[in-house]
Symmetry: C2
Subunit: 284 residues, 2 copies
Amino acid sequence: MTVGIIGLGLIGGSMALDLKRRGFAATVLGVENDPVHSAAAEKMELVDRVVPMDECLRLSDIVVVAVPVGTAVRMVPQILDSFGSEGASGKVVIDTCSTKGRICRQVKYHPLRGRYVATHPMAGTEYSGPWAAMTGLFDGRACIFADAEESDPQALALIERMYDTLNMRPIYMNSDNHDVHTAYVSHISHVTSFALALTVLDKERDEKHIFDLASGGFSSTVRLAKSNADMWVPILTQNRDNVLQVIDTYIDKMNQFRKAIADGDEDRIRALIGEANRIKKILR
Amino acid sequence: MTVGIIGLGLIGGSMALDLKRRGFAATVLGVENDPVHSAAAEKMELVDRVVPMDECLRLSDIVVVAVPVGTAVRMVPQILDSFGSEGASGKVVIDTCSTKGRICRQVKYHPLRGRYVATHPMAGTEYSGPWAAMTGLFDGRACIFADAEESDPQALALIERMYDTLNMRPIYMNSDNHDVHTAYVSHISHVTSFALALTVLDKERDEKHIFDLASGGFSSTVRLAKSNADMWVPILTQNRDNVLQVIDTYIDKMNQFRKAIADGDEDRIRALIGEANRIKKILR
């Protein structure tokens, strides 16, 4: 089996490592248009070879699109086009992006729609680039298969087996539901971290030593603010309506805290914290 | 040296363990008014003995007040009173609370003010109670000494030596500055985590499986929402003005994101994320 991975960043690079090490792929090819990333990926031996796109598409049984979702939306239909009549011969393309609605709508009526499997491996760190790639990144995490019934059963089964090699737990849902869910459990926490970083960085202009006091709690709350704009700009714009709805709920909660603190209403602050503490039962 | 610790929770219990293990204290006494915590602390052998308050004050060279700041504000002056003429004989009281302005104002004109050292060891986890205590909690972290010039030099030197045993890095600042700084690098991140938890928990009422998708990023951003109301209600009320100012800046940043996303203004989103990314240079 040859797997071709387009985009050798955190996700693509980590996938390359484990698919090869664990024997799912005899050969892993990579496509990377950033010359520094490309050179680093070769030096780090993330893939067997970095190749041009057309060579990757010609030689790969599975093509993994692991690029920012704005690019993926254009790329997936082109890759399906490239399969041509060979589409029937078994090539499959997948993407790994964090929003699924728009990309699924984009290919809905493509004649080779069945050869596309929409996935979202829910794993990552706040780092990006080939140097962020690591083995074991996906182990034990959830992988979402969106609109799986629109993929050919053979294509779906192959990709299920691929993610099983990565030790991921499959979850099936439609692409619109996916985007609502990820707005709540992923996209909003990035926005809140970015806003927190901006708040404290503003203050740092006057108070140079403010970060001397930053503790583990602050670091953990703000760490997603290191995340990459290339990845997050298209996520936030493609998932606009869901993200706005969550931001509105969130700002409303912040205002409830603000009012309770401004009023010195200890009972109300206690009630809000007590309610928030229910998160303990949910997170391990 | 006998150290008496009032409040055998995360901070008091962890301090007890390392001060004893590392030989700073020959004897560590504990005071704990919650009967379950008290029994657990004895069973876990966090201290040599759990004793009544008066016995602790009589036998201890250093009294550590490690209780929520609302209680500490009342307790520290009472403990100074209890030193009476013995105050001169060398007893010292410290507190470990996360706000320093009000407690320092409270004792400013106390005749034994010099026997009090206002400290804030900036270490902790989102867990509380004696079962959260651990060795090494303070290693390498910052400890703030607030208004240190108002403590007797001998008392200050003793407590500096105590925190040096805990491997903490001393930072000196006035109590009002401390409260501004901690509003930015600690208090606000708790409020944002509480608000995030509330936002997602609200959605969970309709979508029972929403947390199936929660990834490491979400968990890290929301983990402070497990924090205890007994500790946080008095912090947020005592540091009201600073916290409100930071919340207002923060809500303004959230609204900037909201507007950029609503407008589909990719350049603006990119600029905001790029600015937030500066946090990378500051956090290791």
